[in-house]
Symmetry: C2
Subunit: 267 residues, 2 copies
Amino acid sequence: MPGQKNMKKLKNDSLLCVGLDSDLDLIPKKFLDSKTPQYDFNRYIIEQTHQYVTAYKPNLAFYEARGSQGWQELALTMKYLQINHPNIFTIADAKRADIGSTNKGYIRAIFDELNFDAITLHPYLGKEALKPFLDRQDKTSIILCHTSNPGAGELQDLKIDGKNLWEVVAEKVSQDWNANSNCMLVVGATYPQEMTRVREIVGNMTLLVPGIGAQGGDLQAVMRIGLNKKRAGLIINSSRGIIFSNNPKLEAEKLNDEIEKYRIEAV
Amino acid sequence: MPGQKNMKKLKNDSLLCVGLDSDLDLIPKKFLDSKTPQYDFNRYIIEQTHQYVTAYKPNLAFYEARGSQGWQELALTMKYLQINHPNIFTIADAKRADIGSTNKGYIRAIFDELNFDAITLHPYLGKEALKPFLDRQDKTSIILCHTSNPGAGELQDLKIDGKNLWEVVAEKVSQDWNANSNCMLVVGATYPQEMTRVREIVGNMTLLVPGIGAQGGDLQAVMRIGLNKKRAGLIINSSRGIIFSNNPKLEAEKLNDEIEKYRIEAV
């Protein structure tokens, strides 16, 4: 991916990320008899979709909801991916950020124990606090810039000398925090205008894009606006629309085909 | 505590919080032979300190660092507190915040499974995203306002119409997000000027104050500045200075005595 040093060689030239948001309340009943329902479900989803994706992104909330059992099943999922699909990028959607020394606990858990390639992070504590993440040249820090939720603007649209807070975050990350070329930004598909501006600010930096599908983001707009000059630089996430569909393989293939169609059309 | 509806009756009229930051690399060696070293250490700390504290605050990073085993020991710690010291307030220093529906996973884990009374939260996604936390009238949402780290100002001091971002957060939380009277704010002891202003903005709202001790915060200044009109409204956290001292009981007693001395002196 553009701007990423030390990135692992990726299996597929795809921009699709499948969100392994394996909410126990929503996964098909047939998995619930297992002792490891989230893990079994994830394996099924991975086997159905791996040929179409560049990345998997479990949101940790759905595993923490089940306490230590959930952590175990997340660890099993990560081990399964490492053994069977080592060239698929893995993102811990953890939205963490603490003061410097405390972050080491999260780094140990998410980078070193679970072996994720990347983690999502809140920017509010500043670069100094996030340094332990940013210093890991072998891993990617994905900073929240403009999130996909309807109320994202309450803080993110606050004006600083005429700029929105999210613009300031995009500038800081691309011009300063990214010294190791290991940062990406989260920009919701539900905010295409903001994405246009972020792309202007960050050059070829990769954007992680949630909000397609259930949240109402427009894929065609995102593809027209968000691609960088190498016709890449986007990781388009879909969670529920794929994993809880009747045919995850078909839905992943369809969405990937659609992405590729717009990718080719984009100038 | 002021401004808190549905708060449990507290055991001690204290403002001291002990941070159960039970880093496995730092706890005394005698606990490491146990199968549950963090839990055993926490029980020891709790038994040494419970008569002096209003709250315990485990930072989740130190437990997550040990994966599912850490979660299990955190759960054991919480169960132990509920049985033996049910009238001590418990804060999950988790610094979470995701979009609305996803937060339900964290709520299930931290409020309903682990039974914490409160959680620390990032403000960046706005009130709409945090609604599932704020809607829990039986629980407390503690929003990061001005954090204690040296680089906190990078984003938090950005100026919005002449106000700092942390002032805007304090205003929003006290005037809007706190409709259920179940919010507190994090303000670092290392920023006494900012704390003065936060106290002006939020009236009697309780502030969770990290940064005393190792981080260099000045307790006397905090007590002069931070108390509300009821000579309360502060939860003063100390972690390492107590839990990794040779005599946690003595250190907790000393710090609590010092807090009470300044509390009486404060006008």
